[in-house]
């Protein structure tokens, strides 16, 4: 990877677009540097020479910068051009989240670019893990820019400040720089290599069993669905699949994302991602009624463990808080899920005489009525049916498509949700029950906090986020990244694919 490696971050030209253009024109005659040994061999001798020449040129161009290898890229310290800061921003809680001034201040002062860089780069020294990573920007006018990439955190930051994206997404690391993809002679030379294994849990998928809120709104009660889901998925990823570096992130409104960052997870191909999604997926079918859980007995260890975790939540979150079967029409769905006609009839009769009987009572009725003799099937059948119901109402509802594709994009942590203004902060799974989505700071609140901060600036400059309620989240993220980097350092560098004599 001679090209991007030898580009030292310190000496990067100011204007990113000029970089792209000059590279495009220089690179034209040399396709895919990665599979060079292959494509070189294909080419007729003359272009072989030409390509070799080009390569020399490129090296000449960039080699001399190698000495300056300090890592200044993503430092949050404010550079001279911005040092003349606070023209105090008049921010009130009424300012619109998407106000350009707000977004500019957010990217300038609050977004933890340096940590984000290290997280994706897996090392303090800029590498292709970051440089070849696709970013996709959603601009204020709703334009969607794909295939953005940045050699350093600083350049990412600059483009954010210049374009003020309402959010940006993170895609895979590609075999070549995504910005250069059009200059490659062979389209197959541009392919996704790796990306975190990701999961997306969204409240939309719970709408058929959620009674407290509808649409985009959430409350403490329904957030429990997400909490349950995080618990079940997180433990499966750790204990079953052996992953360690799992970052959960609040999606800013009514859901959560998981980023599994272990090297082994990043290198999974689509079929392996699909298999993991399938392993974790349980509910089948849409919400047109009918039984959505059909599992073999004995329960697979993963489901058995999940049921253990979920049982408790079923009592509180489902029966007490959501009360999903209070209405008669909804109680009919519950009856449908019971396998025994005698029992169903007996329950129906009982409930007909007590309209709006709460769900907890109805749930207790099942066993009571069964014991009193109205059960034609075995008690094991009934137990299993009840387990299935618990699972149907509590088991995580993943948007599995997101997890199945290596090249799927997912919103970056720490961006602002344009609808709520809340920052997409990490969720600490050790205290997942305490996470309060409605307490997550909004961008306007944070900027106000900076203005109101009255602490002492010592010799070392206090980063702006340390003056705000974003601090614990950034600290958590930094800890997460540090632990990832520690493990990464130990990992052996992946061997280069050998391009020697092979047949077929």
């Amino acid at each position: 990877m001679p090209l991007s490696m030898s580009r030292s971050p310190g000496a990067t030209p100011v204007d990113d677009s000029s970089r792209t253009i000059s590279q495009v024109s220089t690179l034209k005659s040399e396709p895919d540097t990665q599979s060079q040994d292959l494509s070189m061999a294909d080419a007729p001798a003359s272009s072989d020479e030409e390509a070799a020449k080009t390569k020399v040129n490129l090296e000449d161009l960039f080699d001399d910068e190698d000495s300056d290898n300090e890592f200044p890229s993503s430092a949050p310290q404010i550079k001279s051009e911005e040092a003349s800061q606070p023209i105090p921003l008049k921010i009130t809680s009424k300012s619109a989240y998407s106000d350009p001034e707000i977004m500019r201040a957010f990217y300038q002062r609050l977004f933890p670019f340096r940590h984000l860089f290290q997280w994706l780069n897996h090392s303090p020294t800029p590498s292709n893990d970051f440089a070849h990573r696709e970013f996709a920007f959603t601009l204020p006018n709703d334009a969607y820019l794909r295939y953005q990439s940045f050699p350093t955190a600083d350049l990412l930051r600059k483009q954010c400040i210049a374009q003020l994206p309402s959010r940006f997404e993170i895609g895979p690391v590609y075999s070549t720089n995504p910005r250069d993809r059009k200059t490659l002679r062979k389209a197959s030379a541009f392919r996704p290599l790796s990306k975190e294994l990701v999961f997306d849990i969204d409240m939309t998928d719970y709408d058929d069993i959620r009674t407290c809120c509808t649409g985009a709104s959430i409350c403490e009660k329904c957030w429990s669905f997400i909490t349950m889901a995080i618990k079940v998925i997180d433990v499966a990823l750790r204990d079953d699949l052996g992953f360690k570096h799992i970052l959960w992130v609040y999606s800013g409104r009514r859901g959560a994302h998981a980023w599994v960052c272990d090297k082994r997870a990043r290198e999974l191909d689509d079929s392996r991602r699909r298999s993991i999604a399938g392993y974790l997926e349980l509910l089948k079918g849409g919400d047109q009624g009918g039984k959505r859980v059909n599992v073999r007995r004995p329960l697979h260890p993963h489901l058995d463990r999940s049921l253990d975790i979920l049982k408790e939540h079923f009592q509180t979150t489902i029966l007490r808080e959501q009360d999903p079967w209070a209405e008669d029409a909804k109680a009919a769905h519950l009856l449908n899920l019971l396998p025994d006609k005698t029992l169903r009839d007996a329950l129906q009769k009982k409930w007909d005489s007590a309209p709006e009987r709460p769900s907890a009572a109805k749930w207790a009725d099942i066993d009571a009525v069964a014991k009193s003799g109205s059960l034609s099937k075995s008690s094991r059948d009934l137990l299993e049916a009840k387990q299935d119901i618990v699972l149907e109402y509590t088991y995580p509802r993943l948007d599995a498509e997101v997890s199945k594709k290596l090249n799927h994009l997912l919103k970056s942590p720490f961006v602002v949700h344009p609808g709520t203004g809340r920052v997409c902060v990490p969720i600490d799974t050790r205290r997942v029950e305490e996470f309060d989505p409605l307490g997550v700071p909004t961008v306007t609140q944070l900027l106000q906090e900076i203005d109101e901060w009255r602490g002492e600036e010592g010799e070392k400059k206090v980063p702006d986020w340390d003056k705000t309620s974003l601090k614990p989240y950034v600290d958590f993220f930094r800890g997460f990244v540090a632990s990832l980097l520690r493990d990464e350092k130990g990992a052996v560098k992946r061997e280069r694919e050998d391009g020697d004599a092979m047949e077929f």
Partner: protein, 503 residues
């Protein structure tokens, strides 16, 4: 047969097959002996075959694979599939066990071996084809594995030397409950367990037929088939990837290339024909709304028709709009520019009506709005010829679809003449094609005629492979190829086909 040796440089020596001349050393030439009925296809064939065998064997195997695919489309159960496939396999690709003592044993296995490798070449060019080929070959392998003679199957498996760690007694005790839950065996029943990285048994993981523990999958003995099959798929996928990268060299054999291209063409699914890399055109700068008028000279007739109708009426009806919007998206017009394009084209409509009635649909086509699935999928895929040729015919005032199909022949000819196609023989050919309902042949005929000079050039100087000049089955391919051919020597390398990168 076809060898790829990367240390070699001389182009003439590569990818060379000739039934008459013996250009390889004798050592490489030995017939392989096939001890087992099943084959992992690790070693490529080395002996010669005739061109006729090359083609017939490939077509026979293709027939088998297509029938298998049809079974999976029709949701046939494994048993139904096995039943249905029996006669087809006997006819096209028989493969008997050692115990049959058939005289044709070696010959059958040779055909199986060679045909597999030929199709590997034909189907390694795009990601879509590779995935499909791998899926169908895996189905075939599984089918045969299941019905194989038990003893012979065991011999085959041992011959593979797959490295599976056996689970020791201590560990079995430790995981007793978990293992029992997965194996479904009653107490007291014993069985062996293997331990492998979970990546090696994706199918079993997906169906929760293994116990997972810290990244290891514990696989019951009886799921051995899954392991063997998964390993088969993995090796095949890896090999296909390598073949794909080696592929350009094959184009040099001008006798194989057309056969291979034809094979993969006949295997093409209707919409697999569009690859989003069609939007990435070397040398074509970012397309803006005003540029469309000029670019439309490179459009296929279906899109020219829409464009002309739009210019004439300052309007297009819904399906035409959709077809054209997707096409424009496919050539790389951004959403913003696309909105500008339509806004300006609909001259007779006020801003607020436009915003209310049209803007959303355009954004929807681009996946900018709509349900999660739509947004994630970045909207709809541009329509292929197949799609246009199977849609309902346009009603009064509508202009969508393929003009070769929807126009009266006289009107079609008139339309072609308006676009500058006047060669009498050509028009006669078009009339015949259309009469036989070979609409895409007619379209390709027109393309080849109007790009004759350029196509000859890229063929002669070898800058384009045969695959790059394949039959066009997608309007976006038509545009891309036309544009590149008319801008040769302007710095674009001229890649037409490419892998599908994004969804």
């Amino acid at each position: 047969m076809i060898r790829h040796d990367y240390s070699r440089v001389e182009p003439k020596r590569r990818a060379y097959i000739d039934p008459k001349k013996k250009q390889f050393a004798k050592v490489e030439f030995q017939q392989q002996e096939y001890k087992h009925r099943l084959n992992y296809y690790v070693l490529p064939p080395t002996a010669e075959i005739t061109l006729e065998e090359f083609e017939t064997w490939a077509i026979n195997r293709l027939k088998v694979l297509s029938e298998l695919e049809a079974c999976s489309f029709r949701n046939r159960s494994p048993e139904e599939t096995a039943e249905y496939m029996k006669s087809i396999l006997d006819k096209y690709l028989p493969l008997r066990s050692n115990s049959s003592r058939s005289r044709d044993l070696q010959e059958e296995r040779r055909k199986d071996h060679y045909s597999h490798f030929i199709l590997r070449l034909a189907f390694s060019s795009t990601e879509d084809l590779r995935r499909r080929f791998s899926r169908l070959e895996t189905m075939l392998f599984r089918l045969r594995f299941k019905e194989d003679d038990l003893r012979e199957r065991q011999d085959f498996v041992s011959s593979l030397n797959l490295e599976w760690e056996e689970v020791g007694d201590d560990e079995k005790r430790e995981l007793k409950e978990a293992l029992a839950a997965v194996s479904g065996l009653k107490k007291g029943e014993e069985q062996g367990w293997f331990k492998v990285d979970f990546e090696r048994v994706p199918e079993l993981v997906e169906q929760r037929k293994v116990v997972l523990k810290r990244g290891k999958a514990y696989v019951p003995q009886r799921e051995q088939m899954s392991l063997v099959v998964a390993e088969f798929t993995k090796r095949l996928d890896d090999a296909l990837e390598l073949t794909a990268r080696a592929l350009p060299r094959l184009d040099e054999d001008d006798r194989l290339a057309p056969i291979l291209a034809h094979l993969s063409q006949s295997f093409m699914a209707p919409d697999a024909a569009y690859s989003s890399s069609d939007a990435n055109i070397d040398g074509l700068s970012t397309i803006t709304a005003p540029a469309i008028d000029n670019l439309s000279q490179h459009f296929p007739l279906c899109m020219q028709n829409l464009h002309q109708t739009l210019r004439r009426d300052s309007h297009l009806k819904h399906f035409g709009r959709l077809q054209y919007t997707l096409f424009l998206k496919g050539i790389g017009l951004s959403l913003e520019e696309c909105i500008v394009f339509w806004r300006r084209s609909f001259k007779l409509i006020q801003d607020d009506k436009f915003n209310k009635e049209y803007r959303y649909n355009i954004r929807h086509s681009y996946g900018d709005v709509g349900g999660d699935a739509n947004r994630r999928g970045r909207g709809y895929t541009p329509y292929s010829c197949q799609k246009l040729l199977t849609e309902p015919l346009p009603g009064p005032g509508q202009a969508h679809g393929c003009p070769y199909r929807t126009f009266e022949p006289d009107n079609l000819i008139a339309m072609l003449q308006r676009t500058g196609v006047s060669d009498r023989d050509l028009l006669k050919g078009v009339r015949e094609d259309v009469g036989k309902q070979r609409y895409h042949v007619a379209c390709n005929r027109v393309f080849e005629h109007s790009h004759k000079k350029e196509m000859k050039k890229v063929k002669d100087d070898g800058t384009w492979s045969a695959a790059d000049l394949d039959t066009i089955v997608h309007p976006n391919t038509y545009f891309k190829r036309s544009w590149l051919l008319k801008h040769l020597g302007e710095g674009n390398a001229g890649v037409v086909n490419g892998d599908k990168m994004e969804e």
